[in-house]
């Protein structure tokens, strides 16, 4: 038995050592690159301050083109929205932005319309992208605050990163190899963090009969984002992006709201129900620039 236990112990020891080494190296490589937004913000964004940053999910990522807005307003903006993320992730991104020492005057929050009233929040599909910074308290606290398998995996990765890097190997381990050889490589966003969906629909039809959606902003992360903004003297503007089927009606709030949920009246501006295409993005970004100028005091 002792021979067996010694051999198994040796195997486990070497295996754990090698796995730890590979995963630490993998996370280190991710931190040196710009593959996902958190490391892009650290490594490729040189400017120390911005007039505004865009936080949000895929709708924020693909709706507001900071290049268009900046060309109209003469501002400096940065899109930090990530696809498949919820308000909780946007809160984490804001914390991450502040932790890098950068500053912004305005935070444009462009989450999915339905996310604002989610009461029971869950870990988002792409929150693993913060794992390279898992040793930082705000990231660890964030992972610890959720339950479920994925959250446990990320939470345990502070001490045993091979758990997280192994679990998300397609999303972390292999991209880390890319980051190692090409640190400038970004995962589907440009140098300002923007991305757009192509124009695929050929038909042009008027959009009729949108559902009315009353919005009460019950998601607890709204308040946390607002508090964080106040603490760091950042103005919060909630942006409600265009939707093919929903017309949002927000209640009175203490923060500013730009409601574009129903401004596009033609299907040719949409990529799918939730997202605008490149045409829609151009139109909406221009409109946003006009409306935001006053709000941002420009």
């Amino acid at each position: 038995m002792s021979l067996f236990l010694k051999r198994i112990g040796f195997i486990l020891l070497v295996f754990t050592g090698v796995s730890l080494l590979v995963s630490f190296a993998s996370l280190w490589a991710m931190r040196q690159g710009s593959f996902y937004k958190p490391s892009f913000l650290e490594n490729q964004v040189e400017a120390p301050s911005f007039d505004y940053i865009v936080l949000g999910s895929s709708t924020g990522l693909t709706t507001l083109n900071t290049r268009v807005i900046d060309s109209v307003l003469g501002t400096r903006g940065l899109n930090l929205a990530m696809d498949d993320t919820a308000l909780s992730s946007q809160y984490l991104m804001l914390e991450h932005f502040i932790a890098t020492g950068k500053q912004a005057k305005t935070c444009i929050l462009a989450a999915s319309l339905l996310d604002y009233d989610v009461v029971h929040t869950r870990l988002s599909g792409n929150d693993y992208r913060f794992l390279p910074y898992g040793s930082r308290d705000y990231v660890q606290d964030y992972y610890d605050s959720f339950s479920g398998n994925s959250a446990r995996v990320l939470s345990c990765s502070k001490w045993f990163p091979m758990i997280g890097v192994g679990y998300y190997n397609a999303e972390l381990f292999y991209p880390s190899l890319i980051s190692l050889f090409d640190p400038q490589k970004r995962n589907r966003f440009d140098a300002f963090g923007n991305y757009s969906y192509p124009v695929t629909l050929k038909s042009s039809e008027p959009i009729k009969g949108r559902h009315e959606l009353a919005m009460e902003f019950q998601n607890p992360y709204i308040e946390r984002i607002q508090d964080l903004c106040i603490k760091h003297n950042i103005q919060l503007v909630v942006y409600l992006p265009p939707h093919k089927q929903i017309a949002a009606h927000p209640i009175e709030t203490s923060f500013q709201i730009i409601n574009h949920s129903a401004i596009l009246q033609d299907t040719r501006y949409f990529y799918d129900v939730l997202h605008v295409n490149a045409l829609g993005r151009q139109k909406v970004s221009l409109r946003f620039a006009q409306e935001a100028a006053d709000l941002m005091g420009l």
């Binding site: 038995m1 198994i8 195997i11 295996f15 090698v18 190997n169």
Partner: protein, 475 residues
């Protein structure tokens, strides 16, 4: 409880420690522990179906005891019938009831008669096809006088429910496994280590090879079509590796876990994709099932005795029943039939034993190996497709040779990544297997450092976010 789950990773060391440290001196308590552990292992999936295992155990225990006492042939036959009726009845009800009803209705509909018959919502108990065959082998062997019945219920119940092989085999014969529950077990480090290495190798096959193949296989077989001939063909090839990695991986883990407790289980897969004809394939694929059918169906039917027509009939029956054993769907019956059609020319030309003793594989065998592999993969289309019409359409599209495009495998960065991982996993698998076959060994034997290397590959190449269930659980 799945072998590739965190629950099992906790469960196994606990049982191992209790078994070798606490109950080391008592065979009886070791067997009790194995029985309790096996029932916990099964109950983790659905405790309600434990009663079926317990009932099957009880019936065969009593029948076998009575068989030993009775000398009258008529009563002995009657007792055997009781066991067969109970076990096969249970299997038929849970696995085939709805299939028979639906086929009956469809048959009448073909002749223009519409029938309104409702089917039952029946959950298929995991592993029912495996443990019923295992208990049946015991009763039949006792009936034939090849085995004495056991008077120790705990030993018998542990044999039936032995958790490493309970839900997906290997289907162990009582002659091999039951005596091991009677003998005092002494811990053998080398034997246990070989088991540990086999567990790691089995996990690699499942988590790296099978689950990465599933990424493409599911798209191709569950998709709405529109794939090129080459993509569809690759789908059938990848399913070949998926089912092999999945099932043989499970068997390797089962054999390895059994070794940790001092038990030796039979080899279930012996590098089937290095077979040089279909006959050899069936001597290498799911050996515990094919030998079960050989001993308890083929030979009682007359085996290879009698006229050529009788032999052909026997082969056809065995292959079709074997196909049907896999699932209540016409696709499995056709799959079995295809293998019979591929096997029969060898039987008729008396070439089905050509490679029985010629175990060494050379480069000159490569064309035959490739041909056999391609035929097996094309037959897998029926095994994987949900309906006969889907399988037929897929084969028609493969043989239309409409396009050699393989865009599915590199059209996005994600598919390119999975292609690379899958290809690398398959190459590692084939590399180790080829080396083993060339050494004429029965199983891949990893060294300590190879085990570490494979374990690291499992961590960084395995599929964990959306893992697939073991395919053979549904059988």
């Amino acid at each position: 409880m799945l072998f590739n789950s965190l629950n099992f990773a906790v469960f196994l060391p606990i049982v191992f420690i209790l078994y070798w440290l606490i109950f080391k001196r008592s065979l009886k308590w070791q067997n009790v522990l194995l029985l309790v552990a096996s029932y916990v292992f099964y109950a983790w999936w659905d405790w309600r179906f434990l009663s079926l295992i317990a009932l099957s155990t009880l019936v065969d225990f009593i029948v076998a005891k009575q068989l030993d006492k009775q000398e009258k042939t008529r009563i002995r036959k009657l007792l055997l019938m009781v066991s067969l009726a109970f076990n096969l009845g249970m299997l038929t009800f849970f696995k085939y009831f709805n299939f028979f009803i639906e086929s009956w209705v469809e048959a009448w509909q073909l002749s223009g008669v519409q029938m309104e018959v409702s089917t039952l919502k029946i959950i298929l108990p995991v592993g029912i096809s495996f443990y019923t065959f295992q208990t049946l082998s015991y009763t039949i062997d006792v009936y034939r006088g090849n085995l004495k019945s056991t008077s120790n219920f705990i030993q018998f119940a542990s044999y039936v429910a032995f958790f490493p092989q309970l839900v997906a085999g290997p289907i162990e014969r009582a002659k091999n496994l039951l005596p091991q529950f009677r003998n005092h077990r002494i811990f053998n480090s080398d034997f246990a280590l070989s088991g540990f290495y086999l567990i790691v190798w089995g996990l690699f096959k499942k988590v790296v090879v099978a689950d990465n193949c599933a990424f493409f296989v599911n798209q191709i077989f569950d998709g709405a079509g529109g794939y090129s001939s080459a993509e569809l063909f690759m789908g059938s090839v990848l399913f070949g590796f998926q089912i092999y990695g999945d099932f043989s991986g499970y068997s390797d883990i089962a054999i390895g876990v059994a070794r940790l407790f001092g038990f030796s289980l039979m080899t279930n897969f012996s590098f089937p994709y290095f077979s040089r004809d279909i006959a050899e394939f069936w001597r290498r694929w799911h050996i515990s099932l094919s030998t079960w059918f050989r001993d308890y169906l083929y030979i009682p039917l007359g085996g290879s005795r009698g006229t050529m027509w009788l032999r052909i009939r026997n082969v056809l029956i065995v292959f079709i029943v074997s196909g049907f054993w896999h699932g209540a769907n016409w696709t499995f019956i056709v799959w079995g039939g295809i293998h019979a059609v591929l096997f029969l020319p060898l039987l008729i030309r008396q070439k089905n034993r050509t490679y029985l003793h010629e175990t060494r594989i050379g480069v000159n065998h490569l064309p035959r190996i490739l041909l056999t592999f391609i035929l097996v993969c094309l037959a897998w289309v029926f095994f994987r497709a949900d309906t006969l019409s889907i399988a037929m359409t897929m084969l028609r599209d493969i043989f239309s040779f409409n396009s050699g495009a393989l865009g599915l495998f590199y059209s996005s960065s994600k598919s390119l990544l999975f292609s690379a991982i899958t290809a690398f996993g398959i190459l590692v698998l084939l590399w180790y297997e080829l080396r083993t076959v060339q050494k004429n060994k029965r199983e891949v034997m990893l060294s300590t450092y190879q085990t570490i290397w494979i374990a690291v590959l499992i961590v960084f190449m395995g599929v964990y976010k959306n893992p697939s269930d073991f395919i053979y659980f549904q059988f």
